[in-house]
């Protein structure tokens, strides 16, 4: 991986240059929240943030988008995402979430709608410091080696700029006069000290993921699910804010003239009623408990079984945004607690 340093004084110029390559988005503070919004210049950006409400998935699996238009003559596929979207300020957890989405949408069967958006997305990561709800050190997603085009590590007066792809490389070539290839011993020291400081800041943790799949299995019929099911509002917030949740509903919408229409994907949530209704109107998961169990066993068990890694990237969004405190931490704590009490497997 090629590395440069960039003086923060030239950062506004760097932003100008990046902006000339596509539509530029970055974290912006809006009252109590942060959001990836289009930016005009570097003064709009606010990198002192932990998480946006909706992660980078909003550029890859937007809440609603057309995939087809149709009329009496036939159908025509619609592929959104002709424009290059450049997102700056993306944290390691969100970059990991894109890696997970890539695996789902591009690995075996390529989803052409996602692929188009992904091809035209440029990710410029940014280093971060955790707050109390960050869990990425537990999920092993606090560092990134790939999945980004450029990554900026903030070391006070300057950035370390890591190059992660050809797209990133061509950006650095264009920004040649703003970057320095020299890496001094001082910057190595700065970097190590910064990493140590960051590591020491994590407060909340999850029980080890080594056992998570097994714990989920052992607890499949636990009362814990019922307790959470009683509390759950079925509001769908956890799925919508989760950077790896990507389930969608498909609806054909006919225009009032009944001659034409379009097919739309709508971001869905497995915590909603009717999510698991199949032909013949059978509902596999007719209550909140069953649906919540699906959400967590999928994210924390099935992903591990299938990919060796949970579907959670530790961004802390469910921890922050669930109105009734049901999240990866409270659920896994409760499950580990249950097993610890009965099976004496925990220390």
């Amino acid at each position: 991986m090629k590395t440069y340093t960039m003086d923060k004084k030239v950062f506004p110029e760097f932003i100008k240059l990046v902006k000339s390559k596509g539509k530029l988005f970055g974290p912006i503070k809006q009252k109590n929240k942060y959001s990836f919004e289009e930016i005009n210049d570097s003064s709009d950006l606010d990198f002192d943030y932990q998480r946006t409400i909706i992660g980078i998935k909003k550029f890859l699996t937007p809440p609603k988008y057309k995939t087809m238009i149709f009329n009496k003559e036939g159908t025509e596929d619609v592929f959104d995402g002709d424009e290059t979207n450049i997102v700056i300020g993306v944290h390691p957890c969100d970059i990991h979430s894109v890696k997970i989405l890539d695996r789902l949408f591009l690995a075996n069967i390529k989803d052409p709608y996602y692929a188009k958006k992904r091809d035209n997305l440029v990710i410029i990561g940014h280093s971060c410091l955790p707050d109390d709800n960050c869990l990425c050190h537990s999920t092993g997603t606090d560092m990134v080696e790939d999945g980004f085009d450029l990554f900026l590590t903030d070391l006070g007066d300057y950035y370390l700029v890591w190059v992660g792809s050809d797209k990133g490389l061509s950006l650095t070539i264009a920004a040649d006069n703003l970057l320095s290839e020299e890496t001094t011993e001082e910057s190595i020291r700065d970097y190590v000290a910064w990493q140590q400081k960051r590591s020491s800041m994590f407060k909340k943790g999850m029980p080890s993921f080594k056992y998570m799949a097994d714990i989920m299995n052992l607890n499949y019929d636990s009362d814990v699910w019922e307790q959470f099911g009683e509390k759950c509002l079925s509001c769908g917030t956890c799925s919508l804010v989760c950077p790896t949740c990507n389930c969608f509903n498909v609806e054909d919408i006919i225009a009032m003239n009944t001659e034409e229409g379009f097919r739309e994907r709508q971001l869905d949530s497995c915590t909603l009623p009717y999510y698991s209704v199949v032909a013949g109107d059978h509902d596999f998961r007719p209550n909140r408990t069953a649906r919540l169990k699906l959400y967590y066993t999928h994210k924390l068990k099935d992903y591990i079984g299938r990919w060796g890694q949970p579907g959670c990237v530790g961004c802390g969004r469910c921890v922050t945004y669930c109105p009734v405190n049901i999240n990866v931490v409270t659920v896994s704590d409760a499950l580990f607690g249950e097993v610890c009490e009965t099976q004496e497997v925990c220390e």
Binding site: K231, C232, L233, I253, I254, A255, P323, V324
Partner: protein, 264 residues
């Protein structure tokens, strides 16, 4: 279910007790108006037409709650004459605000207070029929599809309506306001200790109030997956009394809130 053939589907739009806002909302869908009146045979439209003979219809769109005996009789006639009955708007779906006065005893007291004597409406008002506490249409007849709203939005109404007039089955997929609120990327009021009924309220409004920094008061009526006891706990946690929480839920929640809280 009704099947589309060569002839245009026959539609009736009926209104009972409510503000008539849903009928008005249809007329206000201006980009769709021409198509609306040409794609189907609109045989009865209380607000838009003057002839008022109730015909046999393929699809009946019924707005408003039922609160006179005469309305009840008419509603039953509509059910018999229509293949598909759609409840249009929160009043028809769940009873609306007027469902707050649903309690039989207090209703009688109020009638006495207004009309004196035994509380009966004078005979000369027979054209509306004797009043009764307001109830949603689903309390009396089978409803095939519900489109809540206060009033309904075009975005919600058109996809369902166009499927019906094309002889297709509309998708039933209830969601709470929170889903649309997160589509918009909004922060959550409840997390900041502020009142909001998003988690128990039917979506369809595009979370317009929360997007403008105004809490949801629940005007689209109860969401099918609503967990009322947990919502009451949450509202208590942010400082409401149980009584206040229930009052707020009941404002637009109608019969569903009533049923959900019966067990308590």
């Amino acid at each position: 279910m009704w099947k589309r053939d060569e002839k245009k589907p026959v539609i009736g739009i009926f209104g009972f007790s409510g503000c008539a806002g849903d009928q008005l909302a249809i007329l206000h869908m201006e980009e769709h108006t021409v198509d609306f009146f040409t794609q189907a045979d609109i045989k009865f439209f209380h607000m838009a037409q003057s002839h008022q003979e109730v015909p046999k219809v393929d699809v009946a769109l019924v707005e408003g709650s039922i609160n006179t005996q005469r309305q009840l009789k008419e509603l039953k006639e509509i059910r018999e004459m229509a293949d598909v009955v759609v409840a249009l708007g929160t009043c028809a779906c769940y009873g609306g605000i007027q469902y707050l006065g649903e309690d039989e005893e207090t209703f009688k007291e109020r009638m006495k207070y207004v009309y004196g004597k035994n509380g009966e409406v004078p005979e000369f008002l027979d054209l509306v029929g004797q009043p009764k506490p307001a109830q949603p249409i689903s309390d009396f007849i089978e409803v095939d599809i519900m489109i809540p709203g206060c009033p309904i939005s075009a975005e919600n109404f058109v996809p369902i309506y166009t499927k019906l007039i094309s002889g297709l089955k509309p998708q039933k997929y209830p969601m709470p306001v929170c889903v649309e609120c997160k589509y918009e990327g909004n922060d959550c009021f409840l997390l900041h200790g502020k009142f909001c009924l998003g988690p128990v309220t039917s979506a369809g409004c595009n979370a317009i109030c929360p997007s403008l920094d105004v809490s949801c008061v629940g005007c689209f009526g109860s969401y099918e997956g609503a967990n009322f006891p947990a919502m009451i706990d949450k509202l208590k946690e942010i400082g409401l009394t149980e009584e206040d929480a229930i009052r707020k839920l009941k404002m637009f929640g109608g019969n569903r809130v009533e049923e959900a809280l019966k067990g308590d």
